[in-house]
């Protein structure tokens, strides 16, 4: 469904609102030093004003229509975004390996992988990335439940 210019009207208003919010928030910043006659306020105020002006311009003079995907595909995007949020939130409680295995297995199935293969693939990716980052590069990744069981020596 494409309605001429509706995307740009919404986008423009959103940008303008963001600009206004930035301007408004910047007004609370009032510190001046002798060596710094500008202070922290004007820069975000000007940037916010540019944003506000551009937003209004986009909303008033919308461009050609934009073809948005069907509701089903939008649903898929929303589900994917929700899954990523879940991945983030599960990172600490489940631990890196299991959270990654879950996310990879799920998305592999979404892209047409067979269930069993996807699960194995997810576990493999989780373990491999853990070995690479946590062990080899010494970037600590959250251990989570698996870390508690296997202990600091594991994986």
């Amino acid at each position: 469904v494409t309605v001429r210019g509706r995307t740009d009207r919404v986008l423009g208003l959103a940008l303008a609102a963001l600009g206004l919010a930035a301007i408004w928030a910047a007004q609370g910043l009032e510190v001046r030093f002798l060596g710094d006659p500008v202070g922290p306020k004007p820069f975000p105020t000007v940037a916010g004003s540019v944003l506000l002006a551009c937003g209004v311009l986009v909303a008033v003079r919308p461009g050609p229509p934009v073809a948005w995907p069907s509701a089903r595909r939008l649903g898929a995007i929303a589900a994917a975004a929700a899954a990523l949020v879940l991945y983030a939130l599960l990172m600490r409680p489940l631990g890196f390996v299991l959270a990654t295995a879950l996310a990879v297995a799920l998305s592999a199935m979404v892209f047409g992988g067979r269930p069993l293969v996807s699960v194995l693939f997810g576990l493999g990716v989780g373990a491999a990335l853990h070995a690479l980052f946590d062990r080899l590069l010494e970037i600590p990744l959250p251990g989570g439940v698996l870390g508690a069981v296997v202990g600091p020596v594991g994986l």
Binding site: V38, P40, C54, V58, A76
Partner: protein, 501 residues
């Protein structure tokens, strides 16, 4: 020291085992990522960023790795364009026009070979031009004070908005959002918090890596989920036979012209490869005349855009290194990476960090040789990358993106931010809002504000200092011209259209 002495020193830097290894690795990874449908060099470099810091690579080595990956992406992008008719990024669109017809005629190998050579000619001649230009740039840089710098950054943002195509208002808005993102955190001038929402993790600002991985890698995966199930053509046979010497002789003038065109367009801030390839293609089609088979599989039609593409990559390093104005998303990411090393690209870089600049230039010569070797005999290996199933590839990108973001600060908030930027980046692309100005704003924001405040402190708050010198006012005039460019060009073209009717 003259350019040759500096270049020799650069080769000494680039030929150390670490740097040479990184150039080879970057060239390989870049070609692979360029070949994989849907994943461009920006994503590769974004995902490399956390790795680079984790390995504690020196700045020069990090830059060599990223530049080689960038060059490799230019070589790899042609593979899917020719064989699948799928341009991996906007700059390979033109390659599909003649490349895919050639592949369907069974001349895939010939098209791949001539584009490998074209990429090499384009990449190498652009680096030669870069070598010759660098000392001049270094001298010119000395004229820049805070006021000139402010005007320069304004010009960069205006150029991204004006030349980039599409809606200038949307591009400027994206730039403004980038500037606002850059203000998040503790203000360097006064020490007070701005836009931190009381969140401790925001005190140091929003990490550039998080934004880049969100806007590019995560958004890309969302886009792929949306297009999931769209029919993909089967990979055609590469075909036997290959390139005749006559092909090279015939396309050499095309390549040299396209290399020059690509380099010049690449140097223009805000333009880059997306403009260079159609320009080179149009020039060659016009010169070849109407009887040539352009659009039906003319070998010059594949050589021209690929040569220009790679030449513009090298060209786009100039405004990034010399002016601190990245012309493309990839160079913006590289610049952000350098700034995390406390190295500020800009007019003084060539003087203060000459070893870094010359090491990079030398490594770009080497990377092009490596890429030519990788892309002629080993081409079938990269073609096989097209067969990697989506269910392996895209989950891997997700896992790498999240691991990379986690590596920055070990923060769940960063993961959520990256997801948010991913959704925003996906929607912005749909709505025709360019992301390069946002990256520019974010990368340049702090420097812009610092220089602005320094200039104001120098003048005691008098705004006239900003246009005080001839250089500064010249830059401001250029800024206005660039912003009004679409309007001016529209008026000129409109008149011509009416005249033709």
């Amino acid at each position: 020291m003259d350019a040759f002495g500096l270049l020799a020193a650069g080769f000494a830097t680039a030929l150390t085992p670490l740097n040479l290894g990184l150039a080879v690795a970057g060239a390989f990874v870049g070609t692979v990522v360029g070949a994989l449908p849907g994943i461009g060099p920006v994503n590769a470099i974004a995902l490399l960023l956390p790795l680079v810091y984790a390995l504690k690579l020196p700045a020069t080595s990090a830059l060599i790795l990223m530049a080689a990956t960038y060059s490799g992406g230019g070589y790899g992008g042609r593979i899917a364009a020719i064989l699948l008719n799928v341009p991996g990024d906007p700059s390979s669109v033109m390659t599909t026009l003649d490349g895919h017809p050639m592949a369907r005629r069974g001349e895939g190998a010939r098209a791949l070979a001539i584009t490998a050579i074209g990429s090499f000619v384009g990449g190498t001649s652009a680096v030669v031009l870069l070598t010759l230009a660098a000392p001049t740039i270094a001298r010119a840089g000395l004229a820049f004070g805070p006021a000139e710098y402010v005007a320069l950054v304004a010009l960069a943002l205006a150029a991204a908005a004006g030349i980039g195509g599409g809606s200038a208002a949307k591009a400027l808005a994206a730039g403004a959002i980038g500037l606002l993102l850059a203000t998040v955190g503790t203000d360097s001038g006064t020490g007070i918090e701005r836009f931190t929402f009381g969140e401790l993790e925001f005190l140091d600002g929003i990490d550039f890596t998080v934004v880049v991985i969100g806007l590019f890698a995560v958004a890309e995966v969302l886009e792929l989920i949306e297009r999931r199930g769209d029919a993909v053509e089967a990979v055609p046979e590469v075909g036997r036979g290959g390139l005749a010497i006559a092909d090279i002789v015939m396309t050499l003038p095309t390549m040299l012209r396209s290399a020059l065109a690509g380099f010049v367009v690449g140097v223009l801030p805000g333009a880059g490869a997306t403009l260079a390839t159609p320009l080179a293609y149009a020039i060659e089609r016009r010169l070849a005349g109407p009887n040539a088979g352009f659009g039906k599989g003319d070998i010059r039609g594949v050589a021209a855009p690929e040569t220009a593409d790679n030449a513009s990559h090298a060209g786009s390093m100039i405004p990034m290194l010399a002016l601190g104005i990245p012309g493309s998303a990839t160079t913006a990411v590289m610049m952000g990476a350098l700034m995390l090393y406390d190295i500020t690209p800009g007019p003084l870089l060539f003087r203060d960090n000459a070893p870094l600049v010359w090491g990079l230039i030398a490594s770009m010569y080497l990377a092009n040789v490596v890429l030519l070797v990788l892309n002629l005999p080993l081409i079938r290996l990269f073609v096989r990358m097209l067969l990697v199933p989506p269910w392996v590839l895209y989950p891997l990108v997700i896992a790498l993106a999240f691991t990379g973001v986690w590596a920055v600060n070990n923060s769940v908030l960063d993961l959520l931010l990256a997801t948010g930027f991913g959704v925003a980046g996906w929607a912005a692309r749909k709505a025709g809002m360019p992301l390069v100005p946002l990256l520019l704003g974010m990368v340049l924001g702090r420097m812009l504000e610092d220089n602005l405040r320094r200039a104001m402190a120098l003048s005691g708050g008098d705004l006239v200092i900003l246009v005080g010198s001839p250089l500064a006012s010249g830059l401001w005039i250029a800024c206005v011209v660039v912003l009004l460019w679409p309007v001016l060009a529209g008026a000129v073209l409109g008149r011509r259209d009416r005249a033709e009717v």
